[in-house]
Each structure stands twice: as C-alpha cells, then as structure tokens.
Symmetry: C2
Subunit: 226 residues, 2 copies
C-alpha cells in the first residue's frame, strides 16, 4: 500500500548539509501497523513527512495506494494530505480553538451528512478527553494535548495514519489504550499505520518493526533471522 523506493532527503542550509534519509526503500502492506524505530535524529520524522507529502524527497519515489506521492504538484500535495491522518511530534494544535474544534478542523472543507461536532466528541471520548472538549489546548497537560492531536488525525477516518511518537508524552496505561485504539481501527477498517516510536513496548505490539540509523534502514522484523 505504501511503497518507498530509494528515497533520500538532504537538508542543505548555508554550509551545513545533513543527510536525513539515505536511499530508503520500504514496502508496507495495506492494513498493517508498522513501527519505525531508531535513535534521535535518525530520520523517523523525515520519513513520515515525506510519505505524508509534508515535504518532498530529493530522490527516489513514494507511492501510496494509486498515488505517486513524490510526483505531486503543490495543489495535489494539499489534496492528498487531506486524505492522510498525521499525528505530529509537536502536536501543532491551534491555540485559539477549543479542543473539540481542533479535533473537527480536518472536517471543515467537507459538506457532510453527519454531525461534525458529534463525531469529534466521539473521538475525544475514545482518547479519554470528552470532559475537556471546551478547554483551550494551553489548559491541557502535555499528554492530553498529544491525545487531542491523535483524535484530530483520526477524524476523517483516514486509510493511512502517520503517527510521530504518539505515546511519547503518555504514561504506559494511557499509551496502551491509544495503541489499542489504533489496532482496533486496523482490524475494523483496515487502516494502515506507520508510527515512529522510541517505546519498545509499543513497537512490540505492531505487526512489524523497521529501524533507521543515520537515515538508513538497518533492520526489519520481516526479514529478521529466526
């Protein structure tokens, strides 16, 4: 479902040139939950951003379903992004909107038959935060903000979810509930998930674990020695 081939991303600014990803090839089957692990700075966020068309690869190609993600125009990238759920490592909630309005933001471009606010409240309940629906993000703890970001990423019932360290600010019980939720959506809807994580307990619950080091894919549980 997700096919990355020979993907590289080099950040050049002034005199420094950082190789964030180096010739990464990865195929993820539809409806699987894949953990991307690796040291700080190894390229996890960069990989997710490229697959989500938040950024463009310098070389290589990325295919998601029928879409050639790496070949899209700016406008096509924006259209594609609306179909993908993205949980950012830094959350990026809108400070002036209430929690429930933040969750509903991805629904705004659509005329829908259902009640947007009701669906947003449903998702907030799924992440344990329905009682904070009217709060501003600044009034929430770090882990609560992270969960709002997760609810927002799921509101469009995306077929692909890219989650950048979605449990990094959560205690293990809450983190377990969140992973339960993602696995349940894989089972019921066939949602494909790529999640970057530093938590080995989270990685252990995924269908597959791939590892990055200095921008290179260095291990893959699919091909691990038995």
């Amino acid at each position: 479902y997700v096919r990355a081939a020979g993907v590289s991303r080099l950040y050049v600014s002034g005199e420094e040139s950082i190789t964030a990803l180096d010739d990464v090839s990865l195929e993820v089957s539809s409806g699987s939950v894949v953990a991307v692990t690796g040291p700080s700075g190894s390229g996890k966020s960069t990989l997710l951003h490229l697959i989500g068309a938040m950024d463009r690869a310098d070389s290589g190609s990325i295919q998601v379903g029928e879409t050639d993600v790496s070949g899209l125009t700016r406008k096509q990238q924006a259209d594609y992004r609306r179909t993908v759920g993205f949980v950012f490592q830094r959350f990026h909630l809108l400070p002036a909107l209430s929690v429930v309005d933040n969750v509903a933001v991805p629904l705004l471009p659509y005329r829908t038959a259902f009640d947007k606010r009701a669906r947003a409240l449903e998702l907030l309940a799924a992440v344990g935060l329905e009682d904070r629906a009217r709060s501003l993000p600044s009034r929430l703890s770090g882990g609560q903000q992270q969960r709002v970001a997760i609810a927002r990423a799921l509101i469009n019932a995306p077929t692909l979810l890219l989650a950048d360290e979605p449990t990094g600010n959560l205690d293990s019980d809450t983190g377990t509930q969140i992973i339960d939720l993602l696995l349940e959506l894989r089972d019921s809807r066939g949602m494909t998930v790529l999640l970057a994580t530093h938590d080995p307990q989270v990685a252990a619950r995924c269908d597959r674990v791939v590892g990055l080091e200095d921008g290179r894919l260095t291990n893959d549980s699919l091909y691990a020695a038995r």
Copy 2:
C-alpha cells in the same frame, strides 16, 4: 532541600474547575534525584512549575533551601527562577536564536569571568550536539531540540534542576546518556533533581520514585513496603 507542604493548585476558568494538585506534601533531600511519575494529567508538570515559581500555589507552602518560594513577590520569583534549571515538556526554545545561543540565554544577565559561548558548547557536547551549534531549532529533530533544552537548563550550574519528561522524545540509548549526565552532576556537584517521567527505566535509576494520581501523592519508594 525542597519542602512542599499541603500544596494545592486549582485551575478555574469559566465554569470548569480542575484540581491539578491536591494537598501535596513532599520533602526532597539535597543532592538526591527524585522521579515523579503518574498518569497523563495527574499533576506532574504543575508540581514542577510550582516548585520552580513559574506558577503560584493556591494553598500550602513550598520551601527550597532558604527560600520561601510560595511567599515571593513577582520580582523575587523572577530572581529565584534564574537560580533553578528548568527543562520544559515542550522545550520552549527561542526560534530565532541558534542552538548555542539558546543554550547561553540563561547566562545573559550575568557579567562572567568565563567564556559563555565556550561553556555553552561544552554542554552541547555533553548532550551530543556540538556539531549542530549554529543550527536553528526548527532544523533539529524532536529529540535534538529536547537535548538543547536540557543543555540550556544546566548552563548556570543550578543547584536544583526541574526536568519535565526530559527523555520523552529520546531513544533509550540517548535517554540513558542524559540520565548518566544528571546523575554525574548529582555526584560531582550535589545537584538536586526532580524529574517527571513516564519511563519506568528512567525512574528505576533515580534515588527515589514518588507517584501522583489525580493531583495526589499516592506512593513513595521511600515508604514502600518491604
């Protein structure tokens, strides 16, 4: 060294009233490293903010060394804060300053005999980021930004370090190095550390572990059953 007695903090905004801390009493001896654990939303950040005079308790008292933290005027709070190292859960790096200038910011009010930039570079090296000294924070990965925030908190050689989930965005090897650094500063300088963490492996390396739940202190390894 840190004495909190009957500390409560209630957030009231409009119709909602959230009890973030409820009658918390805690004594931390000088030169010890204490982990504060607990579910998302249990009050860890609030406790650290109160001890660091970033916020004022609604009741109870907080003493740090000779200072009655809970009784300070606004100006005295600002003076006191300069003596404490604080690693924020959301980092709060200044986007327009380079990494090394960010680390050196707490030194700005002081005329010093030493080279501020050299000391900042030393700390960056201690967290593995000396080669990114001139980068802007936005050009760093999440875990790299977190480490810059840690270096900044240590630049004034504080006697008290308040670290809010300092390894939340780090892989376990890098996280281990950071905790090594904090324990080394405890040993060499007698630095007192209170760190909020969701990572049981981090908590296990601390001298003591206390747990919060719904704003109340519910366990303390110092008084744990044997």
